[in-house]
Every structure is written in C-alpha cells, then in structure tokens.
Symmetry: C2
Subunit: 224 residues, 2 copies
C-alpha cells in the first residue's frame, strides 16, 4: 500500500455545528485522507459532540474527542453555570460573554500537535469573520499570526513542508456558508449550533441560533 | 480584601526541571500572586510532575496539573516506548527525536486560556535558545510570533491590557541559568531534568542530563 503524503491529508476541527460541518464536506472533496477532532470542554451544548461523531461516522471519517480538563476555561457563559447565555434574539456588538478565553488558540494548537504527530499537512477550522459573535479568535489577523507561529515553532514548519491552516469560510457571510453547504450536500439537520439548548433542542434566541436562522432565511434554503 | 490586578499576577509553566524552577523563583520575587501549571502528557519522565508539585508546595504556591490525552503526541522518544531516548552523552546537531510535536505551542496556549480565565496578566516559560536541544519551539522568533498571536486572538489582547509572555532564560546559557538559580536559592536537588530516568534517577547520558551537568560544571556550583 502506498503511503499517503502529508499534503494529501487533512484534519478538520469539527464542533458538530454548521460551519465546521461545511468545512468537513469542503475538505473531503479535495483531500485523499481526512480525519476530525472535537473538543469536550464542559460546554453547556455538549450535545454538539454527539452530532460531530455522527456526522463524521456517516462519512466514514475518524473522529477523535479530546478532553480539556473542566475548570481550564472560566468566566464564559458557555461553560459557567452561574453566567446565563444571552438570549436576546439578536446579535450584540462587542465581545459577548459567550467568548471562551483563548479557545481557538487552544483548539488550533491541539490540531497542530495532532497533525504533526501523524504526518497530516493540513488543518481546517470553520471560523468566519462576517456573521459571527465578535470573537477575536475568529478574525483573519489572528489566523494569520497563528500560521506564522506554527511555521516557526514546529519541526514541520522549520525543516519540512509546513502545516497549512485552512479557513475556507473566513470571508463568507452566513448566507454564503449555507449556500456552499447546500452545494456540498451537507445534512444541515444533523448539525447543532445553539449555545444553550433546552432538552437538546435549539433555544432559537442565542446569538448562534440567530445567526443560523438569518443565514438560512437569506439563502432561501430550509434548515433541514 | 483588595483585589489583586492582573498585572501583579503571574502563571509559571512548571515542568519540575531546572529551567522552569529557576523561572518560578525569578517570578516570585516580582509578582504579588503566582501560581503554576504542569502537564501530564504521558512523558517517560513523569516523575517531573511530582517534583513540580513539591517545589510549588514548598513555596506555598498552587500547582494545577493538566492532563493531555495519551496519544495526542506521537513519534517522539519522550512519549513513545518504541523509540529510545538517545543517550550518547553529548548534544547532537539538528532536531533530535526527543522533539514533541507542537509541545510548547500547546502548553503556552493552555497557559493563555488558564490565565485569561482567571485574570492573570503574566505567563512565564523557561525556554532557552543557547544550551538547548535545538527545538524550534524554544527559539525567540517562535515566542515573539506567539505573543503577537495572543495579542490578536484574546479579549485581553484586543480590549484589555494584554497577557505578557516572559522568557527570562531565553538568552542565558546553562551556566548563567545555574548562577541565577543559585542567587535565587533554587533547591537544585529537588528538580528533575532527565528525559528517561532509571528507577527515578537521572540517566546521566541523555541531552538533558548532559546540558545540566555542563551548566553546573561551568558555573562551579554543586548540583544539590
């Protein structure tokens, strides 16, 4: 059996949400071998991990769950039971309390260790900087700085072919993400976006629900 | 009780080795409140975690152990039982097989999430780029790129006072690190450097042992 080269392998950070699932479907069109990682960080919407596993499973793609010790992330309404997730039915300005300190930095760093350990040359993350919650770690300037850090701080970056960070959704709005997902035949109904589901069902009022609804409405596509 | 501001708090990445312990002793002279984190990544020299806990305990400093799932890091002689740690009694050129993929990137990212979650404004890491094993993630250019990434990708970096990354040993050689440790009254004998100890005792021949011995010999100080 011929060994598959690192450039033909991709690792997708899969939350089980709309964006990361579109990323996964996007990547599988272009890479020979793909796998996914998901993070259990004691998030209130831990149900997304089941979704991620099923989505990956249906594609026959490996999904590794990585456990981040409870208590590492604090002071975020996504993990702290004493801080309610805002459910205003609209997207607010500024950085909301759903911000999780350094989350994408940690997720991406895990992805780098995972990928470099296994000879995977590409990492996908579904960040986007248009219809988003104002998180600093979803912005192009952050991703670009992170890429430089990886190029300088890994064996692959210094002496090999490097590890590429791909963000195909970075400059798309939610409508365009939904349209891309439709084209790629993403099973929208199997994905989960809500920050604080009630009995496993989306609340419909948190920022993540609002952005999702807006995207489907503007695209004129059913969320199913 | 007055709240201590983030600028007066420091978090030290403490392996239990010589360098990180010198860092801890250095930081406690300058900051009002300090705490430490250590990483269990299934390293062969896991004994360093006990040392870290004791060193912190003796100073009355909190030590949080963070578990990184076994299997994240692969293809490194520090974690993989099928790859022997080189014991040539000298420091080789190039990046040795003790390199752990993206380790400092992951450790630093954890430290950022931990610090930002708790209102800690300073992170210390004991990397040095002179008497070291050639790891890319110990070099000044990596640290500098990481700092920029943190400034762009965190709420503290974008809207607050930022999180500073301190590397007081970066440009010191091992002799100077030992001398600094002596000045700070570091209990050298309680630290552990060996990559692959035999019955808990340093092997004396791995690169880490060799560098340590060289530092003490050149400084004319006893390792005790």
């Amino acid at each position: 059996m011929q060994k598959i080269s690192a450039e033909k392998k991709a690792l997708i950070i899969l939350s089980g949400g709309l964006d990361s699932t579109v990323c996964l479907y996007f990547a599988r069109e272009k890479y020979t071998e793909i796998e996914t990682i998901s993070f259990d960080y004691s998030q209130k919407h831990k149900i997304e991990l089941q979704k991620a596993r099923r989505i990956a499973g249906q594609l026959g793609v490996r999904n590794t769950k990585i456990k981040i010790d409870t208590g590492i992330f604090q002071n975020s309404s996504l993990v702290d039971k004493s801080i309610p997730v805002p459910k205003k039915g609209k997207v607010s300005s500024g950085i909301p309390n759903t911000y999780v300190p350094g989350r994408n930095l940690l997720f991406l760093s895990y992805a780098v260790s995972f990928a470099e350990s296994r000879g995977i040359g590409n990492i996908f993350i579904g960040v986007n900087a248009l219809d988003y919650s104002g998180y600093p770690d979803c912005r192009p300037e952050f991703i670009s700085a992170f890429e430089k850090t990886v190029a300088l701080g890994t064996k692959e970056g210094v002496g090999g072919k490097g590890i590429q960070i791909h963000t195909p959704l970075l400059h798309l709005n939610k409508k365009e993400i939904v349209e891309l997902g439709k084209k790629l035949k993403v099973p929208f109904g199997k994905t989960h976006s809500c920050y604080d589901p009630i009995d496993g069902k989306p609340c419909g009022k948190c920022e993540s629900c609002v952005l999702r609804k807006k995207g489907f409405a503007e695209a004129g596509i059913l969320d199913e």
